[in-house]
């Protein structure tokens, strides 16, 4: 007898719709991939060239030792936050509307962290000795310094990356099994067989899977919070004016959720449009996401104002000079754009349901928000350094084309990995959508037909 009898399946609409990008590739995909590969390659070549030439090719100089590279690092770590974090929160809260969005968000986390993790290496003076920071047994009996926030960073980012990767992969296994059953070419069949790990959907497998997803959500959530807190401590542990503040932990985490939500919305709108998944991702979902974004925007503004008012009022001389160059000096336009993007425009716009449910308005708004959030990171890193310490050593900072290229590099790299992922895994969690539909039931109450809950 045959192992796999002649299929009676293959006519399922959800599977067909969501697996389509895995099996069909349009010229647009190749164009986008090519574009990203070019950007990524150009950035990578620039990086390699900088390794050979030296750090003088950047705009960095004493005492501005951290510039655009570190702003990029913080920005990309921040972007990663809304994937795993929001997905974990919504899973734990059993918010069913999360189902079509979580996979794309979790993948976003993994790829943004991968991009962010390169920046600590990019900004090193001797990148080729980066492994000194890793605790490994060596003949000098030397270990890393775990009192350094950078060592915490290493641990936190490694934990977060591993956690996010597992949190992305494990719930995708049942979907890889579907892709395996639908694959027609031998290469894809082999690839998805490997990725599905022999998943059959037995009672025990599902039981463990559900338990594991729950446990992972519980474990990944505090890790996500700790990662950006520790990134903020890179600044807050230093005795530098405007860095040394206790508010940085929660402030960074909220900023991260804010910018990350903005990117989730941007990507959701683009994916919905590109794959014609209007049936799966509806304005209802965009509305929900935007509401979270609105809450993050309000909280972020609250913490920013709290920090600003206290330092402005205190007028400590070291801090006053930094506030002054943001309020009226070389960083005036940065700060104004940031406030426009993140607060003055974003909050009133997001307050309207019309904006929250219209995909293209949201897309432009979220991109603008992320421009603002990038500037926020730049404003945290740079102004403090240009006017820190004895006034004899004060300076200015302007990035060079190298820093520009190294800012294009993660964007191109992220989009490249993301579009590759489109070809590797179902972008909407098929089994979770189907689970929702299985559990779906309606109840009539008077003249209304309402959705009832029958799931656990």
């Amino acid at each position: 007898m045959k192992l796999h009898p002649p299929l009676v399946h293959g006519d399922d609409k959800i599977n067909r719709d969501i697996l389509r990008p895995l099996f069909e590739t349009s010229w647009r995909w190749w164009a986008l991939f090519g574009l990203c590969l070019t950007g990524f390659g150009a950035g990578f070549v620039t990086w390699m060239w900088m390794l050979g030439a030296g750090m003088w090719v950047t705009g960095l100089h004493r005492p501005v030792m951290w510039g655009v590279f570190i702003a990029n690092f913080v920005f990309w770590v921040g972007l990663s936050h809304s994937g795993t974090l929001i997905s974990a929160i919504l899973r734990l809260a059993k918010a069913d509307w999360r189902r079509p969005i979580t996979r794309a968000a979790e993948a976003m986390t993994v790829f943004t962290v991968l991009m962010a993790a390169q920046f600590p290496l990019i900004h090193l003076g001797r990148t080729w000795f980066f492994y000194y920071i890793i605790p490994y047994v060596n003949q000098r009996e030397m270990w890393g310094n775990f009192r350094s926030p950078l060592a915490w960073d290493l641990m936190a980012i490694l934990t977060y990356l591993s956690g996010s990767l597992i949190y992305l992969y494990l719930p995708t296994v049942p979907d890889f099994a579907i892709a395996r059953d639908y694959a027609t070419t031998p290469v894809r069949k082999k690839l998805f067989t490997m990725l599905a790990l022999g998943w059959r959907g037995t009672r025990k497998e599902w039981h463990r899977m559900n338990l594991a997803i729950l446990m992972l959500a519980v474990l990944v959530l505090p890790v996500a919070v700790s990662v950006h807190t520790i990134v903020s401590w890179d600044f807050a542990m230093a005795l530098a004016p405007q860095w040394h503040t206790t508010i940085f932990g929660p402030y960074f985490v909220l900023g991260a959720i804010y910018s990350g939500m903005a990117l989730v919305v941007t990507l959701t709108v683009l994916i919905r449009w590109a794959f014609k998944w209007e049936d799966y991702i509806t304005p209802f979902h965009l509305d929900k996401l935007s509401k979270i974004m609105l809450v993050a925007a309000i909280l972020w503004t609250y913490l920013w104002c709290g920090d600003y008012l206290i330092t402005w009022y205190g007028r400590l001389p070291e801090e006053k000079v930094i506030i002054d160059i943001k309020n009226g000096g070389p960083f005036f336009w940065h700060q104004l754009t940031m406030m426009l993007a993140n607060t003055i425009v974003a909050i009133p716009m997001l307050a309207f349901k019309k904006v929250r449910t219209s995909p293209w308005a949201l897309m432009f708004l979220t991109v603008f928000i992320n421009v603002g959030m990038w500037l926020e990171r730049y404003l945290i890193a740079v102004p403090t350094l240009v006017q820190k310490g004895p006034s004899y050593t004060w300076t200015t900072y302007s990035p060079t084309w190298v820093e520009l290229m190294m800012s294009i590099y993660p964007f191109a790299g992220f989009v490249m990995l993301y579009v590759l992922f489109v070809k590797m895994a179902p972008f909407i969690s098929i089994w979770e959508i189907r689970e929702d539909r299985v559990a779906e039931a309606y109840k009539t109450m008077g003249q209304a037909k309402l959705r009832a809950i029958v799931a656990e």
């Binding site: 030296g54 750090m55 003088w56 100089h61 004493r62 005492p63 501005v64 030792m65 951290w66 600590p120 900004h123 090193l124 003076g125 001797r126 990148t127 000795f129 980066f130 000194y132 920071i133 030397m142 270990w143 890393g144 310094n145 009192r147 350094s148 926030p149 950078l150 060592a151 290493l154 890179d234 542990m237 230093a238 005795l239 530098a240 350094l385 820190k388 310490g389 004895p390 006034s391 004899y392 050593t393 300076t395």
Partner: protein
């Protein structure tokens, strides 16, 4: 762990306080050494001539920087003379502050290094291990005095023949991508300490001096052992004119500045 902390505290307290009278010689973990190197800089005597800067460059193989690199803030000057103007033309007074690494007892730059490239030596020096450094540049960010320097350029480009002949053989030429800073001329300290050890005695006062102190014609800079109550530096530091840079930060530098007297 608690033993480690308290033991070293007592060691430092016991000896340190008697020497620098009234000066807040902070508890220092890792002591037990008979030496605690320190410096006094008498600002009332400084003429701002810059001889110390030149001497430091010559002694410590500092990379050379032209006008463009200096203008871009990429020069390396372990010792600099900060110049501040007071008043309006023509009624102006210049004030000079020679600033080098302050070798803080609670150095903020040390704990932030993830690879122990900078640490505190038992003699109270803020040590810098060049071949351990990976160039995170975090130390400079957390350095309130801005006295740490990054090597932007390849050393070989700096010391082209015949300039290489002027290199001091006792001092490492630092490679590109590492941080560096004033060492209190640690190679001189090591040499004198080795001689003293061979002769089974302690290093005497005046046996070592730093390049900057040696070259100062106005006798602004005094270098020596703060644990020796009779050393010149201990006596100079006992002055009522004593202060330290950014003292409010609690970094406890061992460089004492003297200012405010008639001479």
């Amino acid at each position: 762990m608690a033993d480690l902390m308290t033991a070293t505290h007592e060691a430092a307290h016991g000896a340190g306080h008697g020497a620098v009278q009234g000066a807040t010689a902070a508890p220092y973990a890792g002591a037990g050494s008979p030496y605690r190197w320190g410096m006094s800089v008498d600002l009332d005597r400084c003429t701002g001539c810059g001889a110390c800067v030149v001497a430091c460059h010559a002694e410590n193989n500092l990379p050379l920087a032209g006008p463009i690199d200096t203008d871009e803030g990429r020069s390396v000057d372990w010792m600099r003379v900060e110049r501040y103007w007071e008043g309006h033309y023509p009624e102006v007074t210049a004030h000079f502050v020679p600033v080098m690494c302050q070798h803080c007892t609670n150095a903020p730059c040390e704990p932030v290094c993830p690879v122990f490239a900078t640490y505190h030596t038992p003699e109270g020096l803020n040590g810098m291990v060049y071949n351990r450094c990976i160039g995170t540049q975090y130390c400079q960010n957390n350095d309130p005095y801005n006295v740490r320097f990054f090597n932007w350029f390849e050393a070989a480009l700096n010391f082209v023949e015949p300039l290489a002949n002027q290199l001091n053989p006792d001092v490492t030429v630092r490679s590109r991508g590492v941080m560096e800073k004033c060492t209190f001329c640690v190679h001189r300290i090591r040499e004198a300490a080795a001689d003293a050890k061979a002769e089974e005695r302690l290093v005497e006062d005046g046996e070592i001096t730093t390049a900057c102190a040696q070259s100062c014609s106005a006798n602004v800079i005094t270098f020596g052992n703060l644990l020796d109550p009779h050393s010149k530096v201990s006596k100079s530091v006992a002055s009522a004119r004593r202060f330290r840079l950014l003292e409010g930060l609690g970094t406890e530098p061992v460089v004492y500045y003297l200012k405010g007297g008639q001479a």
